[in-house]
C-alpha cells in the first residue's frame, strides 16, 4: 500500500506547479538539446588540421609521393644516395589521407628531418591523395568547386568508402594544391600525355578560378596556391621544369582557344552566354593570346613549377616539401 501511496504522491507532486517542479522541468527542457548536441558532436569530431590536396593524371606518382612523405625514403644498401622505391604503387581507386607534420621552428629543408623530429613545434596537416583516372576525377574537382574553405576528405571517397566514424566526417581547411605531372611522359610528343595532362590542369585551374569569382562577401577565404610538380626527373628522358612549364602553358592556351569555340554543353540553353560573364568559361586574363600561369594571380592563385622525383637519383622531393611547409 505504502508504495502505491508514495507513488501517487510523487505523481501528484510532479503535476502541481510548484517552483521546484517547474525548475526541474525547465532544466530538462533546456538540457536535452545540449545533451543531444554533445552526442552528435562527439560522433563527428571536428578536426581543424589543414590539408593539402594531391591531384594529377594517373601514373604521375601521387601515391608514390604520398608514401614517400609518410614513410621516408629507404636507402639501398649499396648506394645510399638513391632512395629505393618507397612502396610499390598501382592505379588508385579511392583517395587516401595521411597525417604528416612539418616542423616550424627551424627552416625545414627535408621531410626526412621532419619525420625524425616530430616534436612539439611540428605543424600537422593532412595530405590527400586522389585517383587520377579520368573516370574518378570528379570527386576531387567537385570539392575544389565548393566555395567554402573546407573540404571533407571522406567525401572525396565514393560514398561506399565511408565507414564508421572518426576522422572520416571531419572537415579540414584546404591550404594548397599539388598538381603532379609525369615530366617523362610529357616529353613524348606523339603520345596524348601532354594534352590529357593539360586538360586536367585546365579543369583544376578553371574550377579554382570559378571558386574565386563566386566567393561570397569579403570574409571569403583566399584562394589556394598551386604547385605544379614535375615528377620523374630522375629519368633522363624527362623534361626539365622550365620546359614543363612552357609546354603546359602552350597547351593550356590551345585548350582555352578551342574550348571557347567548342559546342555548348547539353543542358546549357542557347540564351546563356558561354564565357561572357566575368570570364566564367575563359581561363586566365580575358584578351590575352598566350596563356601564362602569371595570369592566375588575378584570381588569387599563385602557380609555381618545381621539378623533382620520388624514386631514383635526382633532385628529390625536398623542394616540394619545403613549398608545402611554407604554405601550411
Amino acid at each position: 500500500m505504502s508504495t502505491i501511496d508514495t507513488l501517487k504522491a510523487a505523481f501528484e507532486a510532479s503535476l502541481t506547479p510548484t517552483p521546484s517542479v517547474i525548475s526541474i522541468g525547465l532544466a530538462i527542457v533546456l538540457l536535452i538539446p545540449i545533451i543531444l548536441h554533445f552526442i552528435f558532436s562527439a560522433t563527428t569530431p571536428y578536426t581543424t588540421l589543414p590539408s593539402v590536396l594531391l591531384v594529377g593524371p594517373s601514373g604521375a606518382g601521387k601515391t608514390a609521393l604520398l608514401t614517400l612523405f609518410e614513410r621516408g625514403p629507404l636507402y639501398h644498401n649499396n648506394n645510399p644516395a638513391v632512395p629505393t622505391p618507397v612502396a610499390e604503387t598501382h592505379t588508385s581507386q579511392t583517395p587516401s589521407t595521411v597525417e604528416l607534420a612539418v616542423s616550424t621552428d627551424r627552416p625545414t629543408t627535408t621531410y626526412r628531418t621532419d619525420l625524425d623530429a616530430t616534436g612539439a613545434t611540428a605543424k600537422k596537416f593532412l595530405l590527400i591523395d586522389t585517383p587520377g583516372h579520368p573516370k574518378l576525377r570528379r570527386h576531387a574537382l567537385a570539392h575544389l568547386a565548393s566555395p567554402s574553405a573546407t573540404i571533407t576528405p571522406s567525401l572525396l571517397v565514393s560514398p561506399a568508402a565511408q565507414k564508421g566514424e572518426g576522422a572520416e566526417t571531419s572537415k579540414s581547411k584546404l591550404k594548397a594544391l599539388v598538381f603532379l605531372v609525369d615530366a617523362a611522359a610529357l616529353a613524348d610528343t606523339d603520345s596524348a600525355a601532354l594534352s590529357s595532362t593539360a586538360e586536367y590542369l585546365y579543369d583544376v585551374l578553371l574550377t579554382l578560378q570559378r571558386r574565386f569569382l563566386r566567393r561570397s562577401g569579403s570574409r571569403a577565404p583566399s584562394n589556394v596556391p598551386v604547385l605544379v610538380a614535375a615528377n620523374k626527373l630522375d629519368l633522363f628522358t624527362a623534361l626539365p621544369a622550365a620546359l614543363v612549364k612552357s609546354q603546359l602553358e602552350a597547351e593550356l592556351s590551345r585548350i582555352r582557344k578551342t574550348r571557347s569555340k567548342g559546342l555548348l554543353d547539353s543542358g546549357e540553353a542557347d540564351g546563356e552566354v558561354v564565357g561572357g560573364e566575368e570570364g566564367e568559361g575563359w581561363l586566365g586574363a580575358v584578351g590575352s593570346d598566350k596563356f601564362s600561369f602569371k595570369e592566375m594571380v588575378e584570381f588569387d592563385i599563385e602557380v609555381e613549377v618545381i621539378g623533382g622525383n620520388v624514386v631514383g637519383d635526382g633532385p628529390g622531393a625536398d623542394k616540394w616539401w619545403k613549398w608545402i611547409g611554407e604554405r601550411i
Binding site: 601515391t63 612502396a87 604503387t89 598501382h90 565511408q162 547539353s266 542557347d270
Partner: protein, 653 residues
C-alpha cells in the same frame, strides 16, 4: 609457377607482395582500371567477398590474374601467373590468403590517416599456405612445375646473378645484419630453381617502413621462415636466413648469437656451391629430398595450426553471417525500433534487407527513365554491393544515400576515359607539332547507324560546327545504296554553303553515284581530300539494321579502307529495348582491332527526362557518348554533359 602475389589497397599502395618473376606493374594497373574502374568485366557485382573461383580471371598478354576483393577494408588480393600454366590450387590460395590477411591485419587497416600496414611477418603465413596447397595438389603437378622452372632458368639469367651478388654481400658484412640477411629467402618445395633465387629481389626489406625494418632487424623478430622441405642447398645458410626464433628442434630463440656466428664461415662455401650447382638442374630436383629435416617441420606445423584455426574461424564467421541473415529478419523488436529511429537520424549500418525495397524502387525509377533492364539491374546491383555494411551519415535516410551512390555510379559509367576535344584533335592531325614525325593529313570522321536515326542530319550538324570554325570540310556520300541519299546530302551541302558563306569555311560534296562499293568511295574521298587540302572528311554511310549480317559485315572492310580517326554511331534517344543489341552489334562490326569511338544521341529534345537510352548503350559497349542532338536546326548539337544526364536520370518527375 606463380609469378607474383600482391595485396593492394584501393588507394593504390601495395601492402604486401611477393615476386617470383618480374612482372611489369602495368599488368596490375591495367587489371585495376579495367576490372574495378571501368568495370569492363561482364558481371559487375561479382566483386566483393566473392571468392576467386567466382571472379572471372583477368588476362593480360601472357599473364593471367586471379583475384578477390575485400570491400570492407578496401584491399585487393591478386595472384599473377603465366596463362599457359594450369594451377588448380590458385583460387584456394587467393581465398585463404585473404582470410588470413584480413584476420591478422584487419584492425591495422581500419586506422584512419595512415597507409602503413606492418605485415613483415606475413611472409611466413604465405609460404605456409603456398607449400600446403602445392603439396595438396599432388605429385604429378609438382613435377610439372619443376620442368617449368628449369626451362625458365635460362631466360632469367640476370636476376639470378643479382641474387647471387646479394648473397655475397650478406657474407661480407654479417655483423651489420642489414636487410639482405633479413630478406626471406622463402622457397617452396617442388619448385627449386629460379623462383626462390629471384625472391631476394622482392623481399620486403626494400619496401617497408623504417619502423618495420627495425622490427625486422631487431633480434627478437621472427624472420621469415624459408620453409625447409625445399631445395636450398647448404644447411648453415638456412640458419642464417631463418634468423632466431626457430632454431634447431623448434626451440625458441636465445642461443642464436652463438649459432649465427658459427654458421658464417659455412655460408661462403654454400653460396659457392650454389653457383656451381646452378647449371645442374638435376641436382636441384635432388635437393628437394633434403627437405625432410625435422627442424623445419616443427615450425611449419606450429604456423600451420595457427593458419588452420584462422581459416576455420573465417569459415565459421561466414556461416554465422548467413544464419544471422535469417534470424535477422525475425529480429528483436527493440533493434527494429532502434533501426527505425536510425533511419531518420542516420548512423545506421545498412543491411541487405534494408536496401532491398529501396533498391527495387530505384530500379523501377531507372526503368521509367527508359534505361534498359539489363543496365538498370547492373547499376542497382553495383550500388547495393557498395552500400551493404555502410553507415549512413547523420540525418541521412537510406533513400538519399542510395541516390548519392547511384549518382556516383552513373557519373563513373558515363564519364569517358579520355575526353574529346574535337577541334584540338583535328588541329593536331591537320597541323602536327613540328617535333613529331607525323605528316599532316585530313581528319576523317565516319558516321554509322541504323536506318532513319538521323545520320545525315547529324553529319550536317557536325559539318556546320566545323564550318563555323573555318575548317575546309569534304562530305563523302558513302550511302550508295538507298536511292535519294546522295541528293539529300547535296541539299544539306547547299544549305550549309549558304549559311556559312561569310564565316569563311568551305564545304564540298564528294559523290560517285549509286551502286559503287562504299568502302572504295570512302577511300577515294580521303585521298581526294588530302590532295585538295581539306581539313576534315565526313563520311556518311548507308543505314543498316544491326541484325543484317551482310550489310554489317561490310563495315569491317569500310573501316579498313577509309581508316577513319573517329567512327561515330548515331543512336536515337527514342529506341527502347533494342538499343543495347544495336550498340553491341555495331561496336563489334569493325573487326577485332577497331571499335566505335563514340555515340551521337539524336532527338534528345523529344524524350524529356527519359534519357535512359544513353545509359543502356554505354553500359553495353563502354563507348562514351560524345554529342547529343537537341533539335531540328544545324546548330542544335551539344557536347554531352555527364552532369546534365545524371540530373535528368535522377530527377523524380
Amino acid at each position: 609457377m606463380l609469378d607474383a602475389f600482391e595485396i593492394i589497397s584501393t588507394s593504390g599502395v601495395v601492402l604486401w607482395s611477393r615476386t617470383y618473376a618480374p612482372v611489369s606493374p602495368s599488368v596490375v594497373d591495367n587489371f585495376i582500371s579495367d576490372v574495378f574502374i571501368e568495370e569492363k568485366s561482364t558481371v559487375a557485382g561479382a566483386k566483393d567477398g566473392a571468392s576467386a573461383t567466382v571472379n572471372p580471371p583477368y588476362k593480360h598478354e601472357q599473364h593471367s590474374l586471379r583475384w578477390t576483393f575485400s570491400k570492407e577494408l578496401g584491399i585487393i588480393f591478386v595472384a599473377v601467373y603465366r596463362s599457359l600454366l594450369h594451377l588448380p590450387w590458385i583460387d584456394k590460395l587467393v581465398d585463404n590468403i585473404k582470410a588470413i590477411f584480413v584476420s591478422l591485419y584487419g584492425d591495422q587497416l581500419k586506422k584512419p590517416n595512415t597507409m602503413i600496414v606492418e605485415c613483415v611477418k606475413f611472409d611466413e603465413y604465405f609460404d605456409q599456405q603456398l607449400q600446403e596447397l602445392e603439396q595438396g595438389s599432388g605429385k604429378p603437378d609438382a613435377r610439372a612445375f619443376i620442368v617449368e622452372e628449369i626451362s625458365g632458368t635460362g631466360e632469367d639469367g640476370p636476376p639470378l646473378s643479382f641474387s647471387l651478388a646479394h648473397n655475397q654481400k650478406a657474407q661480407t658484412n654479417p655483423s651489420a645484419e642489414s636487410s639482405p640477411t633479413a630478406t626471406p629467402n622463402a622457397s617452396r618445395p617442388a619448385t627449386p630453381g629460379a623462383s626462390h633465387l629471384l625472391v631476394a629481389k622482392a623481399g620486403p626489406g626494400g619496401k617497408l617502413s623504417r619502423r618495420a625494418r627495425k622490427i625486422q632487424n631487431s633480434p627478437s623478430a621472427p624472420v621469415s621462415s624459408g620453409d625447409e622441405a625445399t631445395a636450398r642447398k647448404g644447411k648453415p645458410a638456412k640458419t642464417v636466413k631463418r634468423g632466431r626464433k626457430w632454431d634447431a628442434d623448434g626451440l625458441a630463440d636465445e642461443r642464436d648469437d652463438v649459432q649465427l656466428d658459427y654458421s658464417i664461415p659455412a655460408v661462403t662455401s654454400d653460396s659457392e656451391a650454389e653457383a656451381g650447382a646452378r647449371p645442374a638442374a638435376v641436382e636441384e630436383v635432388d635437393a628437394s629430398t633434403w627437405g625432410s629435416r625435422t627442424k623445419g617441420k616443427f615450425v611449419l606445423r606450429d604456423l600451420g595450426d595457427e593458419v588452420h584455426s584462422i581459416l576455420a574461424d573465417a569459415d565459421a564467421k561466414n556461416a554465422a553471417a548467413k544464419t544471422d541473415f535469417q534470424s535477422g529478419i525475425v529480429g528483436s523488436s527493440l533493434s527494429a525500433i532502434g533501426g527505425l529511429f536510425r533511419n531518420v537520424v542516420g548512423g545506421k549500418v545498412l543491411t541487405k534487407q534494408d536496401l532491398e525495397k529501396a533498391m527495387k524502387g530505384m530500379e523501377e525509377h531507372l526503368l521509367k527513365k527508359n534505361v534498359a533492364r539489363e543496365a538498370a539491374v547492373r547499376l542497382c546491383e553495383g550500388v547495393e554491393m557498395e552500400l551493404v555494411g555502410v553507415k549512413t551519415g547523420n540525418f541521412e535516410s537510406i533513400n538519399s544515400r542510395i541516390q548519392k551512390a547511384m549518382e556516383a555510379s552513373l557519373t563513373r559509367m558515363l564519364t569517358p576515359t579520355s575526353s574529346l576535344d574535337l577541334l584540338r584533335e583535328i588541329d593536331s592531325i591537320t597541323s602536327p607539332p613540328a617535333a613529331s614525325l607525323r605528316k599532316a593529313r585530313p581528319y576523317v570522321i565516319s558516321i554509322v547507324g541504323v536506318n532513319g536515326v538521323g545520320k545525315s542530319t547529324n553529319l550536317s550538324k557536325i559539318c556546320f560546327f566545323l564550318l563555323q570554325n573555318q575548317y575546309k570540310v569534304l562530305i563523302a556520300a558513302g550511302d550508295t545504296f538507298r536511292s535519294g541519299a546522295v541528293e539529300q546530302l547535296a541539299v544539306h551541302v547547299r544549305n550549309l554553303k549558304e549559311l556559312t558563306a561569310r564565316e569563311g569555311g568551305k564545304v564540298e560534296l564528294y559523290q560517285k553515284g549509286y551502286g559503287k562499293d562504299a568502302a572504295a568511295v570512302a577511300k577515294d574521298a580521303v585521298a581526294f581530300a588530302a590532295q585538295e587540302g581539306f581539313d576534315v572528311v565526313l563520311i556518311d554511310t548507308a543505314g543498316r539494321r544491326h541484325n543484317d549480317q551482310r550489310l554489317m559485315s561490310s563495315l569491317e572492310k569500310f573501316a579498313k579502307f577509309a581508316q577513319p580517326d573517329k567512327i561515330l554511331m548515331v543512336g536515337e534517344a527514342l529506341v527502347g529495348t533494342d538499343s543495347v543489341a544495336q550498340a553491341r552489334n555495331f561496336n563489334a562490326a569493325f573487326g577485332s582491332g577497331r571499335s566505335l569511338d563514340g555515340f551521337i544521341i539524336s532527338k534528345c529534345d523529344t524524350v524529356g527526362d527519359m534519357v535512359g537510352t544513353l545509359v543502356s548503350i554505354v553500359h553495353a559497349t563502354n563507348v562514351p557518348v560524345l554529342f547529343v542532338g537537341v533539335g531540328q536546326h544545324y546548330s542544335d548539337l551539344r557536347n554531352f554533359s555527364v552532369k546534365w544526364a545524371v540530373e535528368k536520370l535522377l530527377s523524380s518527375t
